[in-house]
C-alpha cells in the first residue's frame, strides 16, 4: 500500500455515497468478521475500503458465500460469482453458512439496508400497508435478515433516502427484530446484540443504552439538526450540548473508492 492513508487530509470533494462508505468502513476493525447481502454496493465498498486501510485482516464473507475473496472491483451484483472471485472457500448455503451464522462466535457484523426502520431499529423489507395479504406494496421479503437480526449479530443499517417514509415511528411489519418495543424487550427474548448504527444521507444515529430509542450521533457537513428531525418520522433523542459533525472522508479514502474499489460506480446505482 503505497498510499499514505494515515496522514491523508480530509477533503470536500466527496459524494454522499462516498461519505456513507467511509463512515461504515470505520465501524469494521482488523479482528472483525463481516458479511453482506444482495444489492449491497455501499457495504461491500466499506468492507473493501477498511481492508485497504486500517483493517487489512478484516474477514469478509462475500454474499455469505465467498470467504476472503479478491474481486478486482465491485461487480454489478453483490450476490453473484464475480464478487467471490479468488475466494479461499465457498461456504455452502445449506450447511456451513448457518453453522457459522448461528454461532455467536463467528461473522458478528452485518451491514444491510431496510425499506423501513423504526425508532427501536426494527426493520421492514416485507410489505408497506396494513393488510399483510393485500399490501399496498409488496417488497422483496426478509431473505436472511430475520435470521441475522435474531442470531446475536451487530447490524449496521444504511439508507440513502432519509425521510419520514423510511424512518418511521413503527414499521408496518417486523422483518428483522431490532429492540422491539425498546428497553429490555430484546433481552427478554434472549436476543444478543442488535442494531448498532444507522447511517443515512443526512446523519449518523445510534441507540440509547437504556430506552433503545434511536438517537442522533452526528449530522453530516452542511446539514442541520432541524433538517434531520424534520425528515424523521419520530422524535430523535438529541445528545447533550452541540451535535457533532460527521467526519469528512480523507483524500486517500476517496481516491481508493474511485480508482481501486469501485471504478464502475456501482455505489451510485
Amino acid at each position: 500500500m503505497s498510499l499514505d492513508w494515515q496522514n491523508s487530509p480530509v477533503t470536500d470533494d466527496y459524494s454522499i455515497e462516498e461519505l456513507l462508505i467511509t463512515v461504515l468502513a470505520d465501524q469494521f476493525r482488523n479482528d472483525d468478521q463481516a458479511t453482506n447481502g444482495m444489492g449491497s454496493f455501499i457495504p461491500v465498498a466499506a468492507f473493501m475500503l477498511a481492508r485497504k486501510t486500517h483493517a487489512p485482516d478484516l474477514i469478509w464473507l462475500a454474499g455469505t458465500v465467498g470467504l476472503e475473496p479478491r474481486p478486482e472491483r465491485i461487480p454489478a451484483s453483490t450476490l453473484e460469482a464475480p464478487l467471490w472471485k479468488d475466494s479461499i472457500m465457498y461456504i455452502e448455503q445449506y450447511g456451513d453458512a448457518w453453522h457459522l451464522l448461528f454461532s455467536s462466535r463467528w461473522i458478528e457484523k452485518f451491514c444491510v439496508g431496510a425499506a423501513q426502520l423504526d425508532q427501536y431499529g426494527n426493520a421492514n423489507n416485507s410489505i408497506i400497508g396494513s393488510d399483510y395479504h393485500a399490501p399496498k406494496v409488496r417488497l422483496p421479503g426478509t431473505a436472511g435478515l430475520a435470521d441475522l437480526c435474531s442470531l446475536g449479530k451487530k447490524l449496521y443499517y444504511w439508507n440513502l433516502n432519509h425521510s419520514s417514509r423510511s424512518l418511521v415511528e413503527k414499521v408496518d411489519f417486523i422483518s428483522g427484530a431490532g429492540y422491539l418495543e425498546g428497553g429490555d424487550a430484546r433481552d427478554k427474548l434472549g436476543l444478543a446484540n442488535g442494531p448498532q448504527l444507522v447511517v443515512t444521507n443526512l446523519a449518523v444515529m445510534d441507540f440509547h443504552p437504556e430506552s433503545k430509542r434511536m438517537q442522533l450521533k452526528s449530522v453530516h457537513p452542511g446539514v442541520t439538526v432541524e433538517q434531520v428531525q424534520d425528515a424523521t418520522g419520530f422524535e430523535l433523542i438529541l445528545p447533550d450540548g452541540d451535535v457533532p459533525e460527521t467526519s469528512k472522508p480523507t483524500k486517500a479514502q476517496v481516491k481508493l473508492i474511485r480508482e481501486d474499489i469501485d471504478p464502475d460506480e456501482m455505489r451510485n446505482k
Binding site: 444489492g39 422483496p140 437480526c149 417486523i174 427474548l189 436476543l191
Partner: protein
C-alpha cells in the same frame, strides 16, 4: 440401472395442477428456466412455489397465472429491481405469500427431508413472520431448559425442479464447484419427485472420474433432460453469467400487461424447442457474451 432420461414435455407432464413445486433460484442465479417455461407452455394452474430467493422465473410464472401461492424468503432480481408481475399479483390477492426466513426455509425443508415433524431455529424470533404464519411456525420451549426456539413445520414439496451441469442417463447428477444453495443441498431431498435439467448428458464413466462432484444419486431423481443453456437468462457458473440485456428487456415492459403477453408469446410459446429459444434470445452472439462473464459488467 433405471433409465431416467426423457423429454422436457414428458418430465413436466408429471406435475399436476395444485402441486407444490420447489424451484432452484437465487435472485439472478441458477434457475431451471427451460423447465419453468414448460410449466407455462403446459398451462399449469394453481401451483404453489417454494423458493429461497426467487427472481425472473417467479415473475414469469406470476405473469402467466401459473402460481397462486409462494413460500419463500424473498423475491427480487437484485440490481434489475422488483418482480413487478409478482408484486402486482400479490397486491391484488392473486398470489398468497407465506414469507419465511432463510433459516426457517432450511428447517422446514430439512424436516421434510428427514421425515421429522419439525426442526427448530432461533432465527426470526421476535419478527412478525410467525404471527402471519401460525400454522407452520410455533414458539417452543426448550425441553432441556434453555431459551425458546421456533418449531418449523416439515415442508414436503410435490416436486423439485433443478438445473445442474451434467448427468448420466440414469439421473446421477453432477454440479461444478460454485455456490451451493439449499435448493441443491436440501430441497430435492424433501420433495416427493425430482426433475432435473442438465447442460449435458454424459456417459456414467465420465461421472466416475469426479465422484466428489456428484450431488444427487440417480435413484432419487425421477426425470432428467438435456438442455444446453437451460438456466438462461439466469447465471450458471462457471459455464455462463446472467443475461443483463434480457433482464432489462423484461423489466422495461413488465409493468405493461399487453407487452408482457407479447414477451411470453415470443420467448415461451413461439420457440418449439430449446434451439429455437436460443435463436430467439439472440443466438451465438448472446451465448458468447454470457460465456465471458468474468469480463462482463
Amino acid at each position: 440401472m433405471q433409465e431416467k432420461l426423457t423429454t422436457i414435455e414428458e418430465a413436466i407432464s408429471k406435475i399436476s395442477n395444485g402441486d407444490v413445486v420447489a424451484l432452484q433460484t437465487m435472485a439472478t442465479v441458477a434457475s431451471p428456466m427451460t423447465l419453468v417455461r414448460e410449466l407455462i407452455r403446459q398451462q399449469k394452474r394453481e401451483l404453489g412455489l417454494v423458493v429461497l430467493v426467487g427472481g425472473i422465473p417467479v415473475d414469469l410464472l406470476a405473469a402467466a397465472g401459473v402460481i397462486n401461492r409462494l413460500i419463500g424468503a424473498a423475491v427480487t432480481m437484485e440490481q434489475f429491481g422488483l418482480c413487478q408481475q409478482y408484486r402486482q399479483a400479490v397486491e391484488q390477492r392473486r398470489i398468497r405469500v407465506e414469507e419465511i426466513s432463510e433459516s426457517v426455509l432450511n428447517a422446514r425443508l430439512g424436516a421434510g427431508a428427514r421425515n421429522l415433524p419439525f426442526l427448530p431455529t432461533r432465527g426470526a424470533i421476535g419478527t412478525d413472520l410467525m404471527k402471519e404464519n401460525p400454522d407452520n411456525m410455533k414458539l417452543l420451549d426448550d425441553p432441556f431448559g434453555g431459551l425458546p426456539v421456533i418449531a418449523c413445520r416439515a415442508l414436503v414439496p410435490d416436486v423439485a425442479l433443478i438445473h445442474a451441469h451434467r448427468a448420466d442417463r440414469f439421473g446421477n447428477i453432477q454440479y461444478e464447484p460454485t455456490a451451493l444453495w439449499p435448493d441443491m443441498g436440501i430441497m430435492p431431498y424433501a420433495a416427493k419427485q425430482v426433475i432435473v435439467s442438465v447442460e449435458e448428458i454424459v456417459d456414467t464413466e465420465v461421472l466416475r472420474l469426479n465422484p466428489d462432484r456428484t450431488v444427487l444419486p440417480g435413484f432419487m431423481v425421477d426425470a432428467v433432460v438435456e438442455v444446453p443453456y437451460g438456466a438462461h437468462p439466469t447465471s450458471f457458473y462457471p459455464d455462463y453469467g446472467y443475461d443483463s440485456d434480457f433482464h432489462r428487456q423484461w423489466t422495461s415492459i413488465s409493468r405493461d400487461n399487453e407487452k408482457v403477453k407479447e414477451f411470453i408469446s415470443r420467448y415461451v410459446h413461439s420457440p418449439a424447442n430449446q434451439q429455437e429459444y436460443l435463436e430467439a434470445i439472440g443466438g451465438e452472439s448472446v451465448l458468447n457474451y454470457i460465456a465471458k462473464w468474468e469480463q462482463a459488467e
